[in-house]
Amino acid sequence: MSDIHSDHPMPSRRAFLKLALAAGASTGLLGLGQARAAIRSNARIVIAGAGAAGLAMANRLNSMLDGARITLIDGRKAHYYQPGFTLVGAGLKPASYVESTTGEFVPRNAEWIEEAVAEFDPDGNAVVTSSGRRVEYDFLVIATGLSLDYEAIQGMSPDLIGRDGIGSVYAGPQAAAATYAEMSRFADTGGVGLFGRPATEMKCAGAPLKYAFITEDTLTRRGNRSKAELIYAAHGGALFGVPIVSEKVRMLFAERGIDTVYRHVMTAIDPVRKIATYDTPDGTRELGYDFIHVVPPQRAPQAVRNSPLPWQDGPLAADGWVEANRQTLRHPRYDNVFAVGDIAGVPKGKTAASVKWQVPVAADHLVGTITGTPATSVYNGYTSCPLITRIGRAMLIEFDYDDNLVQSFPGLVAPLEELWVSWVMKETALKPTYYAMVRGLA
C-alpha cells in the first residue's frame, strides 16, 4: 500500500467480495456459522427471556451441546423484529413486517415455559416463574431485554401514542404504525415537531435521530418543510455517544434546519395543552409541540432490579443493569451466570448487532466452563446502527467500546457518508440477517 493511502484503508479484495456476496449484507450482524462437533453434557441451562438474545443463545447452545437441558422462560408469544419499528414508523412497512412468533424460533429439543421470571435466586441457583414454579439450573443466561418506562415521564402513558400529536416507535408494531399516522398528519399541516432521547441507557441510540431525519424528509417530500419547525432535545452535551458521529449528525441537522437544544431531559408531558417539560441546567423549560416523538427512559425489568444480579455501584447500578464482565459477559459475582443483549450491564451495545457479537462469546465461555477448557473469545463492544438520514439513504455507523469506528467494508462503505448502499442494506439484508442470527445460523 502506498503512503498516500495510509489514512484510508484500501478497499481490500476481501471487502469487495464480502460486499458482492452479501448483495448489501448487513453490518456486523453477519458472522460465523458453526460446524463444530457437539459436546456431550447434561447441564441444566435456563435462559430468562426469549427475545433476540435469548433465542439466539438457545439455538447456539443447542448446536454446540448434545444432551444439555435448555429451558427458555418468557411469557411473550409474539416476537418482534424491533429494528424494523423505524421503517413502520416511517410509513414504509406495515406492522406485520416486524411480527412473528417466539415459538417458531425455539429449538425443538429445548423447553419453553410461557411465563415471566418473577424472581432470580442466584445464591440458590434457581429462578421462580410468575406462577410460582421454581426452576433450578447449572447455568443461567439473562436475556430479558429492558423495560420501557413511559410512566417515568409525568403525564405520559403508552395509551397516548397515536393521539393528539404523540408518537413513539419504541412501544411496539401497532404503536409504530400509529406514530406514522400522527407524523403523517403533522407532515401535512406543519407546526412544531419535538424529538429527543432519555438520559438513561437506551436501545439503538440512533433511532431518535433517525426519526427526526425521517420526519424532516417526509415534510420536504410533501412540500411542507417551510411550515414546520423541528427541534431535537439532546439529554446531554452531544447528539450521539460517539464524538465523531455526533459531529457529523450536528452538521447534517444544521444542513436540514433541525434545531438542537442540549441538556434537555424530558420530565413531563401535557397532552391537552400539548406542552413537553424538560429539566435543563437553567431550571425547567416548557416547549409546545404539534408533534412529539417520545423515547421513554429505559431500565432493567422489575424482577432483575429486585435481584442481587445488578451492578451494586457505578453508573450502571441505578437502573439495574446486570453486572457483567464487558469482554466475556460473565457475571463477576456468580460465575455460572451470563447476561446477553440489552440487559447486559456493559457500557455500549444495546442493539441487535451487538447481540450477534455477544452471543457467540458468552456461549463459548459457558461451554468452556462445561468442558474445563477456558474460552478465549472476547466481545469488544461492537455495535452497529444504520443511521437513516432520509428515506433512501443511511450512514452505516459501527463502533466499539472505545468509540472507534469499526468498518465491515473498509474503503468501500464509508461510515460517515450518506449512502444508498447503506440504505439498501437496512432495507433488504438486516431483517434476514437478524432472523438467521435468532435461529443460531449467523
Binding site: 476481501r14 467480495l17 464480502k18 460486499l19 458482492a20 456476496l21 452479501a22 448489501g24 449484507a25 453490518t27 456486523g28 453477519l30 458472522g31 460465523l32 456459522g33 460446524a35 414504509l92 457479537w357 432520509r390 428515506i391 433512501g392 439513504r393 465491515s408 468501500l412 462503505v413 464509508a414 457518508e417 450518506e418 449512502l419 444508498w420 448502499v421 440504505w423 439498501v424 432495507e427 433488504t428 439484508a429 431483517k431 434476514p432 440477517t433 432472523y435 438467521a436 435461529r439 445460523l441 449467523a442
Partner: protein, 130 residues
C-alpha cells in the same frame, strides 16, 4: 463482520427470499442450462438471436434497477457516493446478463434450427463437453 462464510450467506439469502430463493435458483438453472444447450446444439453463438437476446438483456438491466428501487422504497435520486454508482452498475450488469442468457436460452429451446443463420463463433471442442 467476523468471518466470510458461504454457509452464513446462504442462510441469510434463504431468510431473505424464502420460497423465491428456490424459484430464482430454478430460473437461473433454466437460463444457464438452456443457454448451454443452445450453444451445443448450434455449435456456437447465433448472431441474430444473440442481438435480440442482448436487447432483452438491456431491458433486463433497467428492470433489475427499477425493481431494486421499488423494493427498497428509494429512487435514482438517492444514489450518492461512488459505491452507490458501483452498486447501480452491478445491478444493471446482473440484470443484463440474466436477461441475455435467459432469453437466448429460451429462444434456443423454442426456436427452429434455421441452418442458414451464420454461426459467428465456433466453440472449441473441449469446452463444448462442459
Amino acid at each position: 463482520m467476523q468471518e466470510l462464510d458461504p454457509f452464513v450467506f446462504f442462510a441469510v439469502f434463504q431468510e431473505m427470499l424464502g420460497f423465491w430463493l428456490w424459484l430464482l435458483l430454478a430460473v437461473a438453472a433454466l437460463g444457464i442450462g438452456s443457454f448451454v444447450y443452445a450453444l451445443v446444439k448450434d455449435r456456437g453463438i447465433r448472431a441474430g438471436r444473440f442481438v435480440y437476446a442482448q436487447i432483452v438483456g438491456i431491458a433486463g438491466g433497467f428492470a433489475a434497477l427499477f425493481f431494486m428501487w421499488w423494493i427498497t422504497s428509494s429512487s435514482i435520486r438517492d444514489v450518492g457516493g461512488a459505491i452507490d454508482v458501483v452498486l447501480v452498475l452491478a445491478i444493471w450488469v446482473g440484470g443484463f446478463l440474466g436477461g441475455t442468457i435467459l432469453s437466448y436460452g429460451l429462444m434456443g429451446l423454442t426456436g427452429r434450427s434455421r441452418r442458414e443463420t451464420p454461426v459467428v463463433t465456433r466453440i472449441p471442442a473441449d469446452t463444448k463437453a462442459a
